[in-house]
C-alpha cells in the first residue's frame, strides 16, 4: 500500500460517534499502511481533528445540503492540494450526494466503493419490509405510515408494544395510542412523513458489519453490544462466531447485490430464537475499529476494492474480541482552530502536500 492518499469523512466522535475515526484507525492498524490520511471535516470542532497522530491534513468541506457543485469544487481543491486516491464517506446523510458525484470524482482520479442508488433504495427503511418479503428474509411486521389518517389501522395491524421510527433517525418504544401520537408528531415535525410503526421484538440485538462486492460477502464482523448509550449506540461489544448471523447476512447482501460496506441490525426473539432483520445502514459503523483486533480489517480491504483490485473473502472473524469505548479530553491547540477558521485547512506535522 504505497503512499496511498485516503480522504475520510465523519470525524466527530461525541455521544453518537461518526464512523470516520474508527475507519482511519483501522487503516493505520493495517501492517502495510504507508499512506496519508486526509480528514474532511464539517466543523472546526469535529473531535477527530484533535486526536494526535490520526490525520495528516484536515480540510473543512461544505455540508451536503449546501449543494453538489460546492462540495465538488471543494473536493477538487483538496485533490489539487493533497491528492485523494480513495475517498471513504462514512455518514448516511452524505451518501446520496457522493453517489451523484461518483462519476465526476472517478474522472478526477478519486475512487470510492459505495452502494449504488438501487441498492440504497431497496434497503431504505420505508422499503425494507417489501424487500424482505420478496426475498424470504424475516423482519418485524412494519406499517409505513404515509398519512396520519391511517394511524389507527397501523396500530391495529402492529399491536403494542411497537416502535415508532423515523425514516432516517430516531425510534421510540410506545405502549399506548397517546405514546404513538406523540412520537409520530415528533418525527413528522423533524423528518416529515413517512414514519414507520414496527412490532417490538423482545430479545437480544446483534449487529454485523459487512463488506460485499456484487452481493458476495468479502468479510463480516458479527458483534453483540455489551454496553449501550441511551440512544442504543455501542459503548462496548464483543465479536462473535455465529453461523446463523453469517447466513442471514450473506442471504441479505446477496439479494441486494450489495457492493460496499454496511451494518446489519438483527434481533433474535427470546422466545423463538428466530432472527429478524431490523435495518441495513449503508456504511461502516462507528465501532468498526474492533475489526482490526478481530482479524477483519474491513476498511483496509475496502481500499483494494475501491482501487479495483481482486480480493479473496476473509476467513471468519476471530470471536471473543471485545472493545470498550473510552471518552477522554484532548488538548485543542488554538493554532488548529485558527488555521481551520481562517483558512479552512490544517496541515498536521508530517503532511504530504502534492508537488506541482
Amino acid at each position: 500500500m504505497n503512499d496511498l492518499h485516503v480522504a475520510v469523512t465523519g470525524l466527530h466522535a461525541a455521544d453518537n460517534p461518526a464512523p470516520g475515526i474508527g475507519v482511519i484507525r483501522s487503516l493505520k492498524a493495517a501492517g502495510d499502511w504507508n499512506g496519508t490520511i486526509i480528514g474532511l471535516a464539517y466543523d472546526v470542532y469535529d473531535t477527530g481533528i484533535y486526536d494526535p497522530d490520526l490525520l495528516d491534513a484536515t480540510y473543512l468541506v461544505p455540508y451536503p445540503n449546501q449543494g453538489m457543485d460546492e462540495v465538488f469544487a471543494r473536493l477538487m481543491y483538496v485533490h489539487e492540494q493533497a491528492r485523494i486516491d480513495v475517498l471513504i464517506p462514512t455518514l448516511d446523510s452524505e451518501l446520496g450526494l457522493y453517489r451523484k458525484l461518483a462519476s465526476r470524482l472517478r474522472e478526477a482520479g478519486i475512487r470510492m466503493f459505495i452502494p449504488d442508488d438501487e441498492m440504497m433504495r431497496a434497503r431504505a427503511k420505508s422499503n425494507l419490509v417489501q424487500f424482505c418479503e420478496e426475498n424470504g428474509i424475516p423482519t418485524p411486521d412494519t406499517f409505513v405510515l404515509r398519512e396520519l389518517g391511517s394511524l389507527d389501522d397501523a396500530i391495529e395491524k402492529i399491536g403494542y408494544p411497537l416502535w415508532v421510527k423515523g425514516v432516517f433517525y430516531d425510534a421510540y418504544l410506545c405502549r399506548t395510542r397517546d405514546d404513538v401520537l406523540r412520537s409520530v408528531e415528533k418525527l413528522r415535525v423533524t423528518w416529515g412523513l413517512p414514519v414507520l410503526l414496527q412490532r417490538s421484538i423482545s430479545g437480544e440485538e446483534f449487529d454485523v458489519c459487512a463488506l460485499a462486492k456484487r452481493g458476495e460477502l468479502v468479510g463480516a464482523l458479527p458483534i453483540r453490544k455489551t454496553r449501550v448509550t441511551e440512544k442504543g449506540k455501542a459503548w462496548a461489544a464483543v465479536s462473535l462466531r455465529n453461523p446463523e448471523l453469517a447466513e442471514l447476512s450473506a442471504k441479505t447482501l446477496s439479494a441486494l447485490g450489495w457492493s460496499g460496506p454496511c451494518e446489519l441490525e438483527i434481533m433474535q426473539e427470546a422466545r423463538t430464537k428466530k432472527l429478524y432483520l431490523l435495518e441495513i445502514n449503508p456504511r461502516f459503523p462507528a465501532w468498526i475499529y474492533l475489526g482490526a483486533g478481530a482479524e477483519q480489517n474491513l476498511p483496509r480491504v475496502l481500499l483494494e476494492l475501491a482501487l479495483g483490485n481482486e480480493v479473496e473473502p476473509l476467513p471468519p472473524a476471530k470471536s471473543g474480541v471485545g472493545f470498550v469505548r473510552h471518552a477522554t479530553d484532548l488538548i485543542c491547540p488554538l493554532a488548529y482552530l485558527e488555521a481551520l477558521t481562517v483558512g479552512g485547512e490544517l496541515h498536521h506535522p508530517g503532511t504530504h502536500r502534492r508537488q506541482s
Binding site: 437480544e204 446483534f206 458483534i223 453483540r224 455489551t226 461489544a237 464483543v238 462473535l240 462466531r241 455465529n242 453461523p243 446463523e244 448471523l245 430464537k273 470471536s319 471473543g320
Partner: protein
C-alpha cells in the same frame, strides 16, 4: 446420555465461559468447571455423578442436586439442548 451443546462455547482455566454465538459470558465455580469439562469430553451425565462424589468428597444426594441444578441452568441459558 451425553449432553449436547447448542452453541460453540469456550471455558478458560479460570472458569470464565464464553458463548461464541451469543456473546454471553458466565463464571463457573470449581464444581461447575469440573462438571462442564467432563460434559465437554462427552461424558454421560450419569457417569459424572460418581466423579463429583469422589472429587469433592460429598454425598451422592448432594452431588446429584448440584449436578441436576447445573444441567438445568445450562439448558435454561441455551448452552445445552
Amino acid at each position: 446420555m451425553a449432553v449436547k451443546f447448542t452453541n460453540d462455547v469456550t471455558l478458560s482455566k479460570s472458569g470464565f465461559l464464553f458463548d461464541h454465538a451469543s456473546g454471553q459470558t458466565y463464571t463457573l465455580n470449581p464444581t461447575g468447571q469440573f462438571i462442564f469439562r467432563l460434559l465437554e469430553q462427552g461424558e454421560e451425565s450419569e457417569r459424572v455423578l460418581p466423579q463429583i462424589v469422589a472429587e469433592f468428597n460429598v454425598s451422592e444426594s448432594t452431588a446429584r442436586k448440584d449436578l441436576d441444578d447445573f444441567l438445568r441452568q445450562l439448558h435454561e441459558l441455551g448452552i445445552t439442548e
